[in-house]
Amino acid sequence: MTDASGDLKRPVSRRSALASVLQPGRYGAVRPGDPGVRLAERHPLSMVQIEARDDGLAALLDQAEEILGVRPPMTFGGTAGDGQPRILWSGPRRWLVVEPHGRDLFQTLRPGLTAPETAVVDLSSGRSAFRLSGLNARDVLAKGTSIDTHPDKLGSNRVAMTSLFHISVLIDCREANATVPIYDLYAARGYAVALWESLTDAAAEYGYAVDG
């Protein structure tokens, strides 16, 4: 039998874990000008984890690059690609391939990654993705995680896997140096509402906008 894929033969719309809580608008402290924080969900995305053991690594990198046109970064905490797809380092010899929902990413990858030591897992529904930006984005992170988010430590196009408000997350820094930093956050779907509540609660002090 073949492995099931997260993607569709027939179009059925995918439901966000945040459907019941995400309400576009401006909240929290009222400030002149832009709110200190902007929050949005990125959904639907295709997310597939690829992994290899040492002996299959070379093959995986070549085959993945061949299929995706982007080579998984070998540096720990590295990223590659601008989003079509974007490949995020997500642990030793492990990457998360992310792109907006469209082609069947899992089926695109699975057949081509042939080394017996290669594992391919569809996580499209398993993670919820948030975008956190704004002048005070870093302050919001500082309220929930212990890592150093200073641009010298978590720069543009670097990822960190850590815990945010006691929830395991992968933080993908899209833009560190601009006055308005941008972070993409990936967390387990079941925790999406809890994380959302913590993020908005922490952002209220700076005033925040929720984008639809």
Binding site: A17, S146, R189
Partner: protein
């Protein structure tokens, strides 16, 4: 008494006409003990009380002695008040650190009926009996301790708290920096400037409302201008540097491992209520590469007879009130010191127009610039003299002074009386070594300072300025700058040039260490060492006499330094007196352990946001919203919110509604079909050529023969042979498996697998990924399950032949991809359907639609549990971390062909003991009475005692009514187990005085041959 009231004028009668860092255009009304007063912006509660001539502010812990304001900082032992009211009421707040705000309410503590006439003041008369440790020697016989304890508890304690929830919120922040500087006095500012200009990431914290430290309290100049001007310029520059973060009203309370410093920022305590959307306080966890401790020093009193009366005040505090707050602590002052601060203080008081009645200096041979300056100012300076007694009860009316003998141990002449309302006293300064000690440092005694100074550092920290006994501004400045340069060098950064301001300081002559001031005629007197806990010199002598000769015993026996001030003003004196008693050097006798926090920290801020509903995050399944809209009552399981049962539309929650719902849900499954959300089960995706071998090592049963498209039930043991978890694992592909775990153990099993793959068996080619969150899962069970599924499924044949028991297929439901596993927990024909979580609700709804004509019901964890009990399936209550596979009646699953985790223990005596209870089913002999879980199984002839009653086992799970069996049933663990089928034992529940005779039956109450599963 009179004194008190005449002096309490509500008009700031003790405010100096000019000067002070207060805003006279911003008057702030407040109340103390209900009486209205007015202070100014910039005041603390204490300075406002001083300005209003309020001298009696509290009562001491044990003797309830009248006490006044003693200090001007966090070390305050006396002036503790109850602040605010309602949910914001807080006891034991130090009046010396709380900033005045409009409408502030404060109350005195530990006094009844009033501060002036406190009946417990009688304790003072009984003081000869109530000496250190008296309570260890009595209250033993009739009527027993509980009787006395009730009274003693009421007398003890300090302020009162109320059980009203705190309306404020708290916040937390993580911070990282190159150099953390604790303290914003001259030393700290010099350090910050040096490190900041060099471009290092700097954080400067200061506990008060603004930096400056002692400079705010002294009449000093820097570069010829008022020192506070330099402070202002420096702060302005620091604020302009992007790499520098200035945190005022922020106390570094503890120094922990990894150069981590905890600090609390008070965002709202100087306001009537915190600003909207803002926390009251914020906890900072600061990870610094280098820490500079510029925490200053704390002045300590001289220990003389009656040194605790209202009107006796630390000399440095007197200067603070005069210079910073323009408030006069008294009119007619006597100064008593063993160091030059006495003269400095006298000069400031004279300059403020106070009547200074002499500086009494314990030092016989004194001289030096300060004394000359004082004499030049016409102040009477009396060397070799001491204040030996004070007069007045509720307030100070005068003192006796007398000449000291050379050694300072005895008096060499007769006392004479001086009338005064203020004694400014200084016994020297103790460097604030707290944080250095938290960081693992051990302080060492320094004779020149007459105090303990930091020893060798255990972490990347340096103390500077007064914090290491460098008491001059000149030294503080250079010390701070030097420490910053060292830090920069250690961090490989180039220092920037900083030219320090010029000081004009007089040289100081050496301090005389004098720890106990003799009393008149050697009378016992009342020489207080710890003012808050009422520990006197004679208490320390008594403790020594009784053998409590280690500083730590002394502390615990007398409670020296155990109050809210943690001995900031008392430890040094107390330990020195003990050293004198022991006849050993102070350094050898040592000091007690310093512990965090430096000053007390509210629990709310340590908890931050993680409290109440947010104590732990909750997890929601993909179908959560559907459950909520369809009457689900949720229960928490492993952080997941699971439907416990479903109420009818509009139905209210009640015991009856619950029982009815559970029964209907259970019956629906047995008679028709039901569906339950099982998304919470752990799911682990396993891929790689060695997966079957890995499973073989993890589970007690064999896996090599499992075919693709098949599922198998398995049991895992812990390394000690006890059952760890159970679940099914399915083979999806040649080298691809999906393992399921119980909800409770999902996380631990995942880590368990990772541990073996990464550490113990790295040679195995297997990768494991948790996919619990990727797949929504629902179990469809009941006689009609197949009909429902067949109606909804596309692309797969659901017939018994195509999809037999334990078969696995893939298909689509409502256009969504699904995996269908024919496995059953309920004992009915059942299927588990998995679909990517984003489609969970669509698939769930499609199946509910397909099931409508078949009478489908969603069911919750309660029905789920009854169903599995009827089927004799073990779960949490049986897997209690003490049972073996054999205990659970699963011994036959154990493979003898292979070793696996825990297999080595199977034969071991204690694990194989035939007296171990094992799984049985139980029914009430009378067919009616409920058998409660938690009941203990006892043989008939023991059931009536006597205790201890031998136990034969216990009831693990119970279904109060099995709709299927038609009576209460239960599962239990019983010695002898299934060998005893048909026998009866007793289920005792003494907690509810219940005893039920129960029959031992097979644990499988339904469909023993499993035909329902297979057909």
């Amino acid at each position: 008494m009179m004194g008190l009231f005449t002096r309490t004028a509500p008009d700031q009668a003790f405010r100096l006409p000019k000067g002070g860092a207060i805003d006279r255009h911003a008057p702030l009304p407040f109340t103390f003990d209900g009486k209205p007063y007015v202070g100014y912006e910039g005041d603390t509660l204490a300075s406002a009380l001083v300005a209003n001539g309020v001298r009696l502010v509290g009562r001491s812990f044990k003797y309830h002695r009248p006490r006044g304001i003693y200090s001007a900082g966090p070390e305050e032992p006396n002036a503790l008040v109850g602040l605010r009211s309602g949910g914001r009421q807080e006891p034991n707040t130090r009046a010396t650190v709380i900033e005045l705000f409009s409408g502030l309410e404060a109350r005195s503590q530990n006094a009844w009926p009033s501060l002036a006439l406190d009946v417990m003041g009688l304790n003072d008369i009984a003081s000869p009996v109530l000496v250190a440790g008296f309570y260890y020697k009595t209250f033993m016989g009739f009527p027993g301790w509980h009787f006395w304890e009730e009274r003693i508890r009421k007398a003890a304690g300090m302020g009162s708290a109320v059980h009203i929830a705190d309306p404020d919120v708290y916040d937390k922040m993580a911070a990282h920096c190159d150099v953390l500087i604790v303290g914003g006095g001259p030393a700290g500012l010099a350090a910050a400037l040096t490190a900041g200009r060099a471009g290092a990431r700097v954080i400067l914290v200061d506990e008060s409302d603004a930096p400056g430290g002692r400079l705010r309290s002294e009449r000093e100049t820097l570069d010829g201008e008022a020192a506070t001007d330099w402070v202002a310029q420096t702060v302005a520059e620091l604020a302009s540097l992007p790499n520098v973060r200035l945190l005022t009203r922020t106390t570094a309370f503890g120094y922990y491992d990894g150069n981590t410093v905890g600090a609390v920022e008070r965002l709202g305590d100087h306001l009537p209520v915190p600003a909207p959307h803002t926390a009251r306080q914020r906890m900072w966890t600061i990870r610094a590469r280098r820490v500079v401790i510029a925490a200053g020093a704390t002045e300590r009193p001289l220990v003389f007879d009656g040194n605790d009366k209202p009107g006796v005040m630390m000399a440095g505090a007197v200067r603070t009130y005069l210079n910073r707050f323009a408030a006069k602590p008294g009119q007619r002052a006597v100064v008593f010191a063993n160091n030059d601060d006495g003269y400095r203080t006298a000069l400031d008081m004279a300059a403020a127009g106070m009547d200074v009645r002499g500086v009494f200096d314990t030092r016989r041979r004194t001289g030096g610039a300060w004394r000359d300056k004082a004499e030049a100012a016409g102040i009477e300076c009396r060397p070799g003299m001491a204040v030996v007694r004070t007069h007045g009860y509720l307030d100070l009316v005068g003192v006796d002074i007398a000449p000291l003998a050379e050694d300072g141990q005895t008096l060499s002449g007769d006392p004479s009386f001086i009338s005064c309302d203020l004694v400014a006293t200084s016994g020297g300064w103790s460097p604030n070594v707290h944080l250095h000690c938290h960081a693992g440092g051990r302080p060492v005694y320094d004779d020149a300072v007459a105090g303990f100074v930091p020893g060798t550092s255990r972490q990347a920290e340096t103390s500077v300025g007064a914090a290491r006994g460098r008491f001059s501004t000149t030294d503080a400045l250079s010390d701070g700058a030097a420490a910053a340069r060292d830090a920069l060098e250690a961090l490989g950064m180039a220092p920037a040039s900083v030219d320090l301001p010029a000081t004009e300081e007089l040289g100081v002559s050496p301090i005389q260490a004098i720890w106990r001031v003799p009393t008149i005629g050697g009378r016992k007197g009342r020489r207080f060492v710890d003012l808050q806990d009422d520990v006197t010199a004679s208490d320390i002598e008594l403790a020594h006499r009784e053998g409590y000769v280690s500083v730590e015993h002394l502390k615990r026996y007398t409670t020296l330094g155990m109050g809210t001030d943690q001995g900031k003003t008392s430890n040094m004196n107390g330990h020195a007196i003990l050293a004198e008693e022991r006849g050993q050097p102070i350094g050898e006798v040592g000091t007690t352990m310093f512990r965090p926090p430096y000053t007390p920290v509210p629990m709310g801020v340590l908890a931050g946001r993680e409290q109440g509903a947010h104590l732990a995050p909750t997890r929601r399944s993909a179908m959560h919203d559907w459950h909520a809209e369809n009457g689900a009552v949720f229960v928490e399981a492993g952080h997941w919110l699971r439907p416990q049962y479903y109420l009818k539309p509009g139905e209210k929650k009640s015991k009856r509604a619950m029982d009815r719902a559970i029964e209907e849900e259970t019956l629906a499954v047995r008679s028709a079909v039901g569906m339950v959300d099982v998304s919470t089960l752990g799911k682990i995706d396993l891929q790689g050529p060695d997966t079957a071998e890995f499973l073989n090592r993890l589970y007690i049963n064999g896996w090599k023969t499992l075919a693709v498209g098949k599922a198998r039930y398995g049991i895992m043991l812990r390394e000690d042979g006890i059952v760890f978890d159970d679940g099914t694992t399915s083979r999806l592909g040649e080298h691809h498996y999906l393992m399921t775990t119980t909800t409770a153990q999902a996380g631990r099993i995942m880590a368990h697998l990772e541990e073996y793959l990464q550490i113990h068996w790295p040679e195995l080619k297997v990768s494991a990924t948790s996919v619990t969150e990727q797949w929504a899962a629902m179990a469809l069970s009941g006689p009609r399950a197949r009909d429902v599924l067949a109606a909804a499924v596309e692309g797969a044949d659901m017939s018994n032949e195509a999809l037999p028991f334990m078969g696995v297929v893939e298909a689509e439901v409502a256009g969504c991809p699904v995996r269908i596993f024919r496995i059953s927990f309920s004992g009915e024909l059942a299927y588990e359907i998995n679909t990517p979580a984003d489609y969970g609700t669509d698939v769930w709804e499609a199946l509910m639609d397909a099931g409508r004509d078949h009478g489908i019901r969603p069911y919750g964890t309660e029905a789920l549990s009854i169903l599995r009990i009827e089927k004799g399936h073990v779960a949490g209550p049986e897997l209690d971390g003490r049972t073996t596979a054999a205990d659970l009646g699963l011994g036959r699953m154990v493979s003898s062909k292979k070793p696996f985790i825990g297999s080595d223990w199977l034969g071991v005596e204690g694990r194989a003991d035939e007296n171990r209870p094992s799984l049985v089913g139980l029914t009430p002999v009378d067919g009616r009475t409920r058998i409660k879980a938690g009941a203990i199984l006892v043989e008939a002839d023991h059931k009536d005692g006597p205790t201890p009653i031998p136990k034969a086992g216990w009831v693990s799970s119970s279904a109060y009514l099995s709709p299927h069996v038609g009576q209460p049933i239960a599962l239990g663990m019983l010695t002898g187990g299934k060998a005893r089928l048909g026998e009866t034992v007793w289920a005792l529940f003494p907690l509810r005085n219940q005893a039920v005779e129960v029959r031992v039956v097979d644990p499988i109450f339904i469909d023993p041959d499993g035909s329902r599963l297979h057909d």
